[in-house]
Subunit: 376 residues, 2 copies
Amino acid sequence: MPVKLDLQATDPTGARAGFLHSRRGIVPTPVFMPVATHAEVRGMHTGEVWDTGARILLSNTYHLMLRPGATAFRKLGGIHSMMRWDGLVLTDSGGYQIFSLEGSREISERGALFRSIHDNSRHFLSPESSIAMQQDIGSDIMMVLDVCIDSTSPEAETREAMERTHRWAVRSLAARDAVPTEQALFGIVQGGTFPALRRESASFLVELPFEGFAIGGLAVGEGKEARNEMCELSTSQLPSHKPRYLMGVGTPSDLLDCVRRGVDMFDCILPTKMAQQGYAYTFQGVLRTTRDVFRLDGDPLDSSCSCLVCGRYTRGYLHHLLRGKHPLGTRLLAIHNVSHYQMLMGRMRQAILSNTFDALYRELSPKLSRVVKGPN
Amino acid sequence: MPVKLDLQATDPTGARAGFLHSRRGIVPTPVFMPVATHAEVRGMHTGEVWDTGARILLSNTYHLMLRPGATAFRKLGGIHSMMRWDGLVLTDSGGYQIFSLEGSREISERGALFRSIHDNSRHFLSPESSIAMQQDIGSDIMMVLDVCIDSTSPEAETREAMERTHRWAVRSLAARDAVPTEQALFGIVQGGTFPALRRESASFLVELPFEGFAIGGLAVGEGKEARNEMCELSTSQLPSHKPRYLMGVGTPSDLLDCVRRGVDMFDCILPTKMAQQGYAYTFQGVLRTTRDVFRLDGDPLDSSCSCLVCGRYTRGYLHHLLRGKHPLGTRLLAIHNVSHYQMLMGRMRQAILSNTFDALYRELSPKLSRVVKGPN
């Protein structure tokens, strides 16, 4: 079996801790996957990513099929070899990008026809071609191509998208199983914010031999309450012995909320994205390094943090770098933020194993979304 | 004595190898100093800079006095502490920037009055205030404030600038010696491309108790031949037991040319600047990574290079990163280019010590300025 969840503990809240076994070693869960959209965690090389504690990355099939393209992966030996990454890689299917980012595309039951944003060349993404591309990339966990629609779409449209997602899920499995492979495949639960559809989607998919299940179509503007509700409802329908992955979530406090609801895996661009904007996540809250008040601050970003940045640099130096838009600044914040996410997951995991998750939740939940207004 | 050159060997060509002794350890010469304009070697943290083999950096007083400003250096403990850099730092005086980069400034015998490019605030840079700022920065080697003029200026104007540079050199020394310090101070030979003025400038300055001498006013468009001539003429007038620093030079083949003419120290933004534009320096020539021909190239940038990048990544992956303008690409090229410069200096030094500099010169000089057109 390509990946397998070995559940170690389930907290009364529903939070789970385990190990994801794979051909590339064992990943403790719950786990956060830094995003390497273009086979690059923005500005960081894989040695640095590894040093944050991360052991699994997410990369984007849509972007990679356009550049560097399938030929490059075949010639240069897959994404692990290209990036020199010894951990796992999960690839999304391209579904989200096809439906969200593209203006001119034609979608039919067969798949989606679209044009490259780079050179206007024509490309076709179907359940089968997405799997083929993910096989060229050589990821450890592949995702099925799904139909992503606006979370405010009416029920009929949401049902239609969900049903096509189901038919595509079956085709994706068939494509994956056509050749022997060690690559896992996850199905994606859809259904918008309609509880009945979410239930129907989960119960359809769990009958299929996926190695794990993702919860899709959330974190797209439906609001935190609806997301938590749909997340909880979805996980309640999923088998406990398979990994559950909530796509595209989220802030540190979102992670607390959704681990609590039984999610095992997350990805989000926030740690690197917020770094670009000068924000550092800390266990005391969010710190905007460019605020004047940090200009002469000789303390590290977070004195409880063990990352390279907190070990070496002051807020004052980071303020200088970020204010001047010097590229090292963004990079150091990215290293810190990715490390912070890893430490947060580690603390949650430890709490689940020791039956203290609820206490940790109550301690961190208010802190993490605070704003750090000035020096300690 | 704050810094002292211990000359180990002088090649028949005039190339010199030695050790620069300082309060922060010993630096082998000839040496190339990566540029940390804003207390940052563009995109690289000091751990990475150290790993390239560099042990001395250059930083810019003009930029640092505007941001983060003297207060920040006093509060955060100087540039070594701010950057976490255990090697040496040389600071320029701000002269070049005041004369070259600024539109609105008033210059008199006292100094230069100018406005900040950031907030239009007024600043005054004099020989004394430049030393004071360099003392706040806490560099190991300070430069005198000099008068930089266009290398095509007529002789009378060049003489006037040179003579003021000399008066400012005397004032700089007095300012430095007003308080006990371990910071070295270098004088700057000026005189444009007029041999008589260069000789006069050198003979004036060598009578003053500077710990070293820089050759200024070159590499500003006077052409390679004139630069080499002025460089050779200047070094011939300087005492052999003190370090000689050619400011702002240059390409790898420029370094070969000027080490041959007796220069010990160099600085230049080219390694990081060219990285931004996608160029890698190799011992086979200059390689533009974004060329289509490298898209599927599975070789490292330079198989004779021992840097982190050549040990881990293919030209194909670098092509992908640079073509897509992904920030890791520029960074990896910067690491490689700075490493290449260090390796080049190391090879020159070894050749000088073993009396084979001329052979190395003849081997490398044509190679280094070649263009690498395709895969090996």
